[in-house]
Amino acid sequence: MVREITLGQFMPGKSVIHRLDARTKIVLMISYIVFIFLCKNFISLLIMSLFSLLVIMMTRISFMKYLKSLRVILVVIILTGVMNVFYGTGDVLFQWWQLTITTGGITNAIFVIVRISMLMMVSSVLTYTTSPTDLTDGLERLMKPLTLFHVKVHEIAMMMTIALRFIPVLLEETDKIMNAQKARGADMENGSIVQRVKALIPVLIPLFVSAFRRAGDLATAMECRCYNGGKNRTRMKVLLFTAVDLTALLFCLIIFSGVIVSNCFFGSFATV
């Protein structure tokens, strides 16, 4: 059951999006986040949504996978959507006790819902199509200027790589330990909340112990190979900025300018 979480899972493939340089994808995703919040009217929101759907289709990963990533934050989406319906200005459509629904509220709710869902799905595009190593490599390269301020960029990137790498390992381990404790009669599905939290102890303690053991083993193994990160270290896979990346950048530039143009010409509907 723990294995069903798809958030942040790499799915190998050969699509154009897969082949893009990790740096390009990171930069574009960050600018995408900025621009989806800059959308002021339905036209720009439509441009951005269509663009996201196009990118999602280009990854050639089933749309169900993206919907699944939405399921994780479904509560957040519904909650913010409902809240926004009641906080808005404009024509009153419905009023009962303290609650008023206005046209502005509904517009805001639609904007918030679309924005959060698109945000989640497009971030999934990044994590689905970029292997964890490429991702941290890309981040390391992008953060390189920070070394001037004595930020240990390489170390941070290494820690991220290791953390990502061990997520599936730890999930599998959790599964095993849960089974072992269930076999000894641990009851994790029934009982009050307090009882269920208590029932987690037999799972969490072995899990922590094993995580520390793995970390220790890994550190020893790295030291044995004289690992010495950072300077003068070469890479097995060098990130390459190619014509595909340039095309992608230009294409996104056009889309993003479209958003700005539509913002200027068609006024703003949303107040959030």
Binding site: K176, I177, A180, Q181, A183, R184, G185, I205
Partner: protein
């Protein structure tokens, strides 16, 4: 009477998803009460899935498992009782220790069964004795023990539930030869004293040959055979076809027989093989002196 009977069980991992994978197909067998059964098979042959089905951790996609004549999934809400009746020791069980003291950890199972303190105390001490854990270790932290002692403590935690059927998945993996030997003979002793049913999953043909009354051979999610060790290990060709071997000593005796030496090729343990060869030599000596 058969303590465990399976009827055409089939198990599919991730049924209904794109990762669907059939682990077992049409497995039917019976295990008599009090038998010591070895389960062998190549990696991925479905051994581990099978044992998890037997103690109710997994539910068969199709087919039925009977424990003492009753379908174990008759009342899905009461499946915990099956966990208590069919004790399961997983691979590398020492990684599941979590309590402050070894005593408390062994008592985890009996406590979940809802026994009173006196009964728990008795079961914990019995289990510790069966697995050869020294009394003074019971009050120390499980994380201070040596690897072998941890393994024993974890196995004791399952034995303490007094299961009718005890399943051990590769209990000797990662132990040194002496530790293996000791643990196996302790399990065999436990089986003799308690007279319950023991299922032992193992890669080591030697371990199985020495301890088991019967052997269940699995390959590609199917039962190949369930029979006595003598019979199973006489089917060298079938075993080799599915990537399994016979015990080394049996192989040697078979090769000797092929070369025309008059030995019994169904010998399964080194001790018996040694006797066989010594007998042969003394016979030969007698013949020589007669000439």
């Amino acid at each position: 009477m058969a303590v465990i009977r399976t009827e055409k069980i089939r198990f599919v991992y991730g049924a209904g998803t794109s990762f669907e994978k059939t682990a077992l197909t049409d497995v039917s067998f019976e295990i008599e009460s009090g038998e010591f059964v070895g389960i062998i098979g190549h990696t991925g042959s479905g051994k581990s899935t099978l044992v998890q089905l037997l103690n109710g951790l997994l539910r068969p996609t199709e087919g039925t498992i009977f424990l003492n004549g009753k379908d174990i999934w008759e009342k899905p809400k009461k499946i915990r009782n099956i966990h208590f009746k069919v004790g399961m020791v997983f691979q590398y069980p020492e990684y599941q220790l979590f309590e402050e003291t070894v005593y408390k950890d062994i008592a985890f199972g009996p406590k979940n069964m809802g026994l009173d303190d006196d009964e728990i105390d008795q079961k914990v001490r019995n289990a510790a004795r069966f697995t050869g854990l020294r009394e003074e270790l019971l009050e120390s932290s499980p994380f201070e023990l040596s690897g072998g002692e941890k393994r024993r403590a974890a196995i004791a935690g399952v034995i303490a539930m007094d299961p009718d059927v005890l399943i051990l998945d590769e209990p000797t993996a990662g132990l040194d030869p002496l530790g293996r030997e000791a643990l196996l003979s302790q399990i065999a002793d436990y089986h003799k004293v308690r007279k319950n049913t023991v299922l032992l999953v193992s890669h080591s043909m030697e371990d199985i040959a020495r301890t088991a009354d019967k052997i269940l051979v699995m390959s590609h999610g199917q039962k190949v055979m369930l029979d006595t060790p003598e019979y199973v290990f006489s089917k060298v060709r079938e075993l080799e076809k599915i990537g399994l071997k016979v015990p080394q000593i049996t192989k040697i005796m078979m090769l000797l027989k092929e070369k025309g030496v008059n030995v019994d090729p169904s010998v399964l343990t080194v001790e018996k093989g040694l006797n066989e060869i010594l007998n042969l030599l003394s016979d030969a000596n007698n013949n020589c002196s007669r000439l």
